[in-house]
Amino acid sequence: MKMRERRKLRWRKGLKSSNSVNLISMMDILTVLLLFLLKSYVAEGEVMVPAPGLTLPASSAEQSPKASLIVAIDGDAIRVGNDVVASVSEAMASDDALIVPLAVRLQELRANPDQIAPAATAAVDPRLVTIQGDRDIEYRLLRKVMLTLSRSGFAHVSLAVLRTT
């Protein structure tokens, strides 16, 4: 009788200690993760994310990107910001030196400079443009895009690359 009661008590005690989950170790992990993420967030300054679906070429360049208009060229479309403005096949097929739909979009942006980089926190140089080109695009396409940009008043062109350390 006494033995059974003691065992019962011990059993209840064990149950009680496992009743609340030990969260301290999880908090440790989360704290470290939070610090790491905050640090990487602060160290970056302007965050530029490569457009989805394109592989940027790798380079040893070290200059950090600035907030600017982004023109992304991948295998089948030319994007300004997030909008597709022209298809690569059409741009390549036309004999024009310029890409007309791209030029039209750029003229709209020149008229409304506050649309150039809406997410930017700092002041944006209205003549700066960053080209995110897929590593396999051909020079004649790049040339057409650059020519269209310079004709439309975006004279400072930067090429975005993946940083290799």
């Binding site: 969260l23 999880m26 908090m27 989360l30 380079s59 040893s60 790049l142 090429l159 690359v161 993946l162």
Partner: protein
């Protein structure tokens, strides 16, 4: 006999509960902040290469060539060679393996030779910072970036683009 023991136990349980830290609110905050930061963090590091679009044709190209000590260096990316030209004359031709990936050892070796040649020129002309990269219409973007890397490594960080076949000093990307 039974009653006092149960009361003692309850009291003991209460003090134990009070000893634990109340971590749940903090956990809730963390759990909402961390996905937010994870989503906004950029895990690929980007860099940019500033490229000067060649100036409008108002500046006569001849004026550049007549300046003392100022070379107009051109690297032409051919299908099978890098052709290095200075002031319109071919300085050297460095063969490169056609049709291989740009991280192929043979392609890397060709870029190394190009880098050494450029570094030798840079040692002779310490003022030289610009180089023109002339590309074929079908040259891949990654090849152009690679040559820009080589010229930056050799001490000439200002790369301009031009068409292959255009005369030296008359860049192709020009309004």
């Amino acid at each position: 006999m039974r009653k006092p023991s149960r009361a003692r136990e309850r009291r003991r349980r209460q003090t134990e509960v009070n000893q634990e830290l109340e971590l749940m609110p903090m956990l809730n905050v963390f759990i909402s902040i961390i996905p937010l930061l994870l989503l906004s963090a950029a895990f690929v590091q980007l860099a940019v290469i500033p490229t000067s679009l060649p100036a409008p044709s108002d500046t006569p190209p001849a004026a550049v060539a007549t300046e003392v000590e100022k070379l107009s260096l051109t690297i032409t990316i051919d299908a099978a060679a890098y052709v290095l030209g200075a002031n319109g004359a071919t300085v050297s031709t460095i063969p490169r393996p056609p049709g291989v990936a740009n991280d192929d050892p043979a392609a890397k070796a060709a870029r190394e030779v190009l880098g050494r040649t450029l570094a030798a020129i840079a040692a002779e002309h310490p003022e030289q910072r610009e180089v023109t990269i002339a590309a074929d219409p079908t040259t891949h973007y990654v090849d152009i970036i690679d040559v820009m890397d080589v010229s930056r490594g050799a001490g000439m960080p200002e790369a301009a683009l031009a068409d292959a076949g255009a005369p030296a000093g008359a860049p192709g990307v020009q309004p």
